[in-house]
C-alpha cells in the first residue's frame, strides 16, 4: 500500500524543549488516523513537520515520497488554518478562492460552501463570522484542492453538537471516497467516531499505536466515583485515588466492578460511573513525571 506520509526517527527540539522525540510513523493511503494526546504532547508539531512548516532537528520526514518543504510535494495535501488566523478583511469566498487558486482541479467555491453549511455567507468578511462559522470555513478550505491527504488539527473544537456531527459526516464521506486523514483531537468521542487507527502521543513520544480497540484496552475506560469509609481489594481496578471518604477508581469494566461493590456489602453512596475523560485515561499511558503534576490525591497503583 502506498505510504502518503512518513516520519522516521523524527526529533524536534525548541531550544531545550523536546517537542517530538524519535517518532516513526507511516500513514498509508486510505487510512483515517486519529492522533491523541494532552496539550503540549507534540501533536501539532508532528502535523507541522508533515506539512513542511518545520524541519526535524534530526530524523527524516517524507510527504508523497519527498521533502514536504518542497512546494510541489504539497499538491495533494490539504491543511486547516487556525480560525483565529483568517485574514479578517477578506470575504469568505475570497478566502476559498485564494486557497483554490493553488490547485489544479479545485472544488467550485459554491459547492464547497454548501457542503460545509456556509452558503449565504460568501460576501461576509471572515472577521465578522461566528466562531463556529470560522471553524467550518477553515476545515472546508482543507478540502478545496481535492487532496489525497488531509491534516486536521482539532477540527471540531468549539463547535456545537450539530455542527460537529455534520463535520464528521463530511470527513467520513471524504474517507469513503478513498481520502486519507490525520486528525488530532482532544475528544475521545471524536476519535472513536472517526478513526480506524489511533496513535497516542505524550511528551513527544508515541505511547500507543493500533486499532481503536487495541488502544482502548490499554487505558481504563471507566471512572467510578463513590463515597465509602474503606474499600477492600477490588478486582479489575487499574488505578485509584482517595480524598477522605471519596474514592475514584479507574477500570476497564465498570459493570463488573459495581457488581463486586454491591456483593461485598460495603456501605457506599453517591455512586457515579463515567467514561474516563481523555486526560484521565491517558495518565496510565504517560510517564511518571507526568503523574507528579496531575492533581490526584493519595494515588496508589494496584
Amino acid at each position: 500500500m502506498e505510504i502518503l506520509a512518513r516520519t522516521a526517527a523524527a526529533t524536534r527540539r525548541y531550544g531545550p524543549v523536546i517537542a517530538l522525540d524519535n517518532v516513526s510513523l507511516d500513514v498509508p493511503a486510505g487510512q483515517l488516523l486519529g492522533l491523541l494526546g494532552p496539550n503540549g504532547a507534540g501533536k501539532t508539531t508532528l502535523l507541522q513537520l508533515l506539512a513542511g512548516l518545520r524541519s526535524p532537528t534530526s530524523g527524516t520526514v517524507e510527504l508523497f515520497g519527498g521533502d514536504p518543504r518542497d512546494a510541489f510535494r504539497r499538491r495533494r495535501l490539504g491543511c486547516t488554518p487556525q480560525e483565529t488566523g483568517l485574514p479578517p478583511t477578506l470575504r469568505v469566498h475570497e478566502v476559498v478562492d485564494f486557497v483554490a487558486g493553488h490547485f489544479a482541479d479545485p472544488v467550485p467555491t459554491a459547492e464547497l460552501l454548501e457542503q460545509f453549511g456556509l452558503t449565504g455567507l460568501e460576501r461576509r468578511q471572515s472577521g465578522g463570522l461566528s466562531g463556529g462559522q470560522k471553524r467550518r470555513l477553515v476545515v472546508a478550505v482543507a478540502f478545496v484542492g481535492r487532496p489525497d491527504l488531509v491534516l486536521l488539527d482539532e477540527p471540531t473544537t468549539g463547535l456545537d453538537v450539530d455542527a460537529r456531527h455534520s463535520l464528521w459526516d463530511a470527513v467520513r464521506r471524504y474517507h469513503e471516497d478513498g481520502g486519507t486523514v490525520v486528525l488530532t483531537s482532544h475528544y475521545l468521542e471524536e476519535v472513536e467516531a472517526l478513526a480506524e487507527r489511533v496513535v497516542v502521543i505524550d511528551q513527544g513520544r508515541v505511547r500507543a499505536d493500533g486499532t481503536l480497540a487495541d488502544v482502548r484496552s490499554m487505558v481504563p475506560a471507566r471512572r467510578v466515583r463513590l463515597r465509602a469509609p474503606d474499600l477492600p481489594e477490588l478486582a479489575g481496578v487499574e488505578r485509584s485515588s482517595r480524598d477522605g471518604d471519596r474514592h475514584e477508581l479507574w477500570t476497564a469494566d465498570s459493570d463488573a466492578l459495581v457488581r463486586e461493590l454491591v456483593t461485598s456489602g460495603i456501605p457506599f453512596r453517591d455512586l457515579e460511573v463515567a467514561t474516563a475523560s481523555l486526560e484521565e485515561a491517558f495518565l496510565t499511558l504517560t510517564s511518571p513525571s507526568n503523574h507528579a503534576t496531575a492533581p490526584i490525591v493519595e494515588e496508589t497503583a494496584r
Binding site: Y14, A19, G40, T44, T45, A51, G52, L53, R54, S55, A71, F72, R73, R74, R75, L77, C79, T80, P81, Q82, T84, G85, L86, P87, T89, L90, E94, F98, V99, G101, H102, F103, A104, D105, G145, L151
Partner: protein, 252 residues
C-alpha cells in the same frame, strides 16, 4: 488538469496581498502622504524652493525617503506582522514556493511607492521650481529602483529576523538616522566634514546621490555605486539567511 503555473500563483498572491492592505486604508495613507507633506511644509515655504537645482534635489531626497519608509514599514514591519499571523503559516502549507509570495510583496511595495511619489511629484511640480525633463524620467525611475535595492534588502532582513515589536522598534530607530545621516531631509553640502565623511558610507546617502544625479545631472561621487552594491550584498545575504531560517513564529 495541470498544477497552476508560477505566473498564475504570482498574480494570485499579488492580488490578495493588495486587497488585504487596501482594506486597511490608514496604514496606506500615512506611509504614502508623509513625504509629500514634508515637501509641502519644509521645502515649499523656503527661498530655495524657487531655485530649480535645489528644489529638484529636495524632491529627489524626499522621493528616496518615500522608498525607504515603504521598505522599512511595508517590508520590515509588514513581513514581521504577517509572520506572526497563523494565516502566514497556513499559506506555507499550500503548494506554493517562496517566489510568488515574494514577488507579490515586491509588486505591492512598488505600488505603494508609486502612490507615495504621485503627490510628492505633483507638489514639487506645482509649488516649487523643481524640473524633471522628460529625457531624465526613465533614468530617474531606474535610479530609484537601484537606490531602493539595499533598502529593500534591509527591510526584508528586519521582517524575517525579528518579531513584530522588535521590527517596529528597529524600523523606527533606523528611519530618522538613515534619513538625516543620508541627507534626505537636509542637503549634505551643509554637513560638517566629519558627518559628510560618515554619511558617504550610508546606503541612504548613496541612494540620495544616485537619484539627485539622475534628476539634476550633478556629478556622482565615486563611491556611490560601490556603497550601494556593498549594502545590497550585505543586507541581501542577511535577508536570504533570515528567510531560510524562518519557520514562522518561534514557538507553537
Amino acid at each position: 488538469m495541470s498544477a497552476p503555473t508560477i505566473a498564475r500563483l504570482t498574480r494570485l498572491h499579488t492580488r490578495y496581498q493588495f486587497t488585504e492592505t487596501i482594506r486597511i486604508p490608514v496604514a496606506v495613507i500615512s506611509t504614502t502622504l508623509f513625504p509629500a507633506l514634508s515637501l509641502l511644509f519644509f521645502v515649499v515655504p523656503q527661498q530655495f524652493a524657487q531655485d530649480p537645482g535645489t528644489a529638484t534635489a529636495s524632491a529627489a531626497q524626499l522621493a528616496v525617503f518615500a522608498v525607504m519608509s515603504v521598505c522599512l514599514f511595508t517590508y520590515g514591519v509588514g513581513v514581521a506582522e504577517d509572520r506572526a499571523l497563523p494565516w502566514d503559516g497556513y499559506t506555507r502549507t499550500l503548494p506554493v514556493g517562496p517566489a510568488p509570495r515574494l514577488i507579490g510583496r515586491v509588486v505591492n511595495g512598488l505600488a505603494f511607492v508609486v502612490l507615495g511619489l504621485l503627490p510628492l511629484v505633483l507638489i514639487a511640480w506645482w509649488f516649487t521650481a523643481a524640473t524633471l525633463p522628460l529625457s531624465r524620467l526613465a533614468l530617474t525611475v531606474a535610479a530609484l529602483l537601484v537606490a531602493g535595492l539595499p533598502l529593500f534588502a534591509i527591510g526584508i532582513s528586519i521582517g524575517y529576523s525579528l518579531s513584530t515589536k522588535a521590527a517596529l522598534a528597529v524600523a523606527q530607530l533606523l528611519l530618522l538616522p538613515l534619513a538625516f545621516g543620508g541627507g534626505l531631509f537636509i542637503p549634505p553640502d551643509t554637513f560638517p566634514d566629519w558627518l559628510n565623511t560618515t554619511s558617504m558610507w550610508l546606503p541612504t546617502r548613496a541612494a540620495r546621490d544616485l537619484v539627485v544625479t539622475a534628476t539634476t545631472g550633478v556629478d556622482l561621487p565615486g563611491t556611490t555605486l560601490l556603497v550601494l552594491g556593498g549594502w545590497t550584498l550585505l543586507a541581501g545575504s542577511l535577508a536570504v539567511w533570515a528567510y531560510r531560517r524562518d519557520e514562522g513564529r518561534r514557538f507553537r
